[in-house]
């Protein structure tokens, strides 16, 4: 049907739009030139150099570590917070909490960065891994809450009540009823948190300590000199490994789905 073709075309165009820059990055990781000004020939030397560049690898390590930790922690805290806020009576208290929650979303990075930095200075906390992690969690949680709230509003509010009437404890109702209902919100919140954390520059730059760094800082610092194509090589490798991971998960999900179907047919 025409509608089907239109749908497929639209999705295709969208993904082309999203991936065009990525493809450019990948292609230029094989370019035998420091500049992205022109194609000078095929080479694998940036990949070779990548593995001897300990600074970039350290940055990668911290980037992934912080991103995973902050998205996991902010998802957990954010989920409970969203549930709690949803349970508040509609009134000024709830509105205030929500508006305050929006501030890290609304503020430019530099303001969040500088205000957190001032806070840490004020509390005489030494800058390091912990301050970096705390600042990431701070700007991630609001997005998690934002992702989950609409799901809570969508959820039939009598569902957990019914569960508790049937004898479930509040915690059990939470685990078995509420959370599965809002799961897509939790997952998209976690994804957004991870995305924001992995790419953050300004907030990380001002709230980190000696010896701790992340990929964004490394990359932005290189801008003056021209970004070392080793970064392109790294990005390509990251992208490929994510794709591979995706395919593995997909195969596993399909196998699970198939075995479930078979199970049901017995």
């Amino acid at each position: 049907m025409v509608k089907n073709i239109l749908k497929k075309l639209y999705i295709f165009l969208m993904f082309l739009f999203l991936y065009a820059p990525i493809i450019v990055l990948i292609v230029y990781s094989f370019n035998d030139s420091r500049s992205r000004g022109g194609w000078k020939g095929f080479t694998l030397r940036w990949y070779a150099e990548l593995f001897t560049n300990s600074d970039i690898l350290t940055a990668l390590y911290y980037t992934v570590l912080i991103a995973v930790l902050s998205s996991v922690i902010s998802t957990i805290v954010g989920t409970f917070a969203a549930i709690g806020i949803h349970g508040m009576k509609n009134g000024y208290a709830k509105k205030t909490v929500l508006n305050l929650n929006y501030l890290p979303v609304l503020n430019p990075d530099i303001v969040t960065a500088v205000s957190l930095m001032t806070l840490f200075k004020f509390l005489r906390i030494e800058f390091g891994f912990v301050t970096l992690l705390l600042s990431h969690i701070t700007f991630c949680i609001p997005y998690v809450i934002l992702s989950i709230l609409p799901k809570l509003r969508q959820m039939n509010k009598h569902l957990p009540e019914a569960a508790m009437d049937l004898g479930a404890t509040p915690f059990y109702a939470l685990r078995k009823v509420v959370i599965p209902e809002i799961m897509p919100g939790i997952v998209s919140g976690a994804l957004i948190a991870f995305t924001l954390s992995i790419d953050d520059f300004v907030i990380s730059f001002f709230n980190k300590g000696v010896g701790v760094t992340n990929l964004s800082i490394t990359i932005y610092s290189m801008a003056r000199r021209g970004i070392n194509p080793v970064i392109n090589a790294l990005s390509t490798l990251m992208f490929v490994s994510l794709l591979v991971l995706l395919i593995i998960i997909n195969k596993k999900d399909e196998k699970d789905a198939n075995s479930k179907k078979r199970g049901e047919n017995i």
Partner: protein, 275 residues
Amino acid sequence: MKMKIFSYPYMLWLVIFIVVPLLLVFLYAVTTTENGGLQFTVENLRRFLDPNYLDVLWVSIKLALQTTIITLILGYPIGMIIAREKPSKRNIMVLLFVIPMWMNFLLRTYAWLTLLGKNGIVNYIVTLLGFEPLDLLYNDGAVLLGMIYNFLPFMVLPIYSVIEKIDNSLIEAAEDLGANKFEVFTKVTLPLSIPGIMTGITMVFMPAVSTFVISRLLGGGQYMLIGNLIEQQFLWVGDWHFGSAISIIMMIFILIAMAITSKFDDQKEGSSGLW
């Protein structure tokens, strides 16, 4: 329902990491450093009322509005299409949608330079097909493209997650009662997806007002945006007082704008925030 106790740990966090920094920013905004100490003044806030500065704020808000509307129009169908796919395919598509955002922002934006330049890849294809090279860079269109590129996932994800859980039986019931596809969409799907739309608008509009790197890289720095102005005050001029003042004013403007938008929200369900 005792559910609200779950929010208490976060409230504590909120106070320490959001309220206190906010108060610090506010403090800077209404003071000035004189004789080694802080003196209260409204000078910083008053300084902003210059037409140049107000113009900067207006341009930023306009760009953010355009970005939000276009990402909504483009993103809603995507959210819908993904939500209607098979579960296994859905998850993959969502992830595929988000993964480009995990590549560094500066790199991605630089890549657009390579794509859109006069001698760039798009123009290479255009000239190959026999047309004149297009002027794709350093104009408003390029900036908008960059903004949409950056913010699209933030609109799609919330919309998708809400549409995904719309009870199919509601749609079936509507169809049984004689509604055509268009009516099903406007009377059932769309109203039910409004919470997702509101979240999407929030997650796009608010950061979009203070985003300026895209305009600088793809717009050729032709105009100044409020985020740029604020960053300059903090870093280049070193006037944290004025920088904080501008931030506070911007915060107020945006919260008002969002309050107006949330009036379109379903009032009965209770607020999603803002006033």
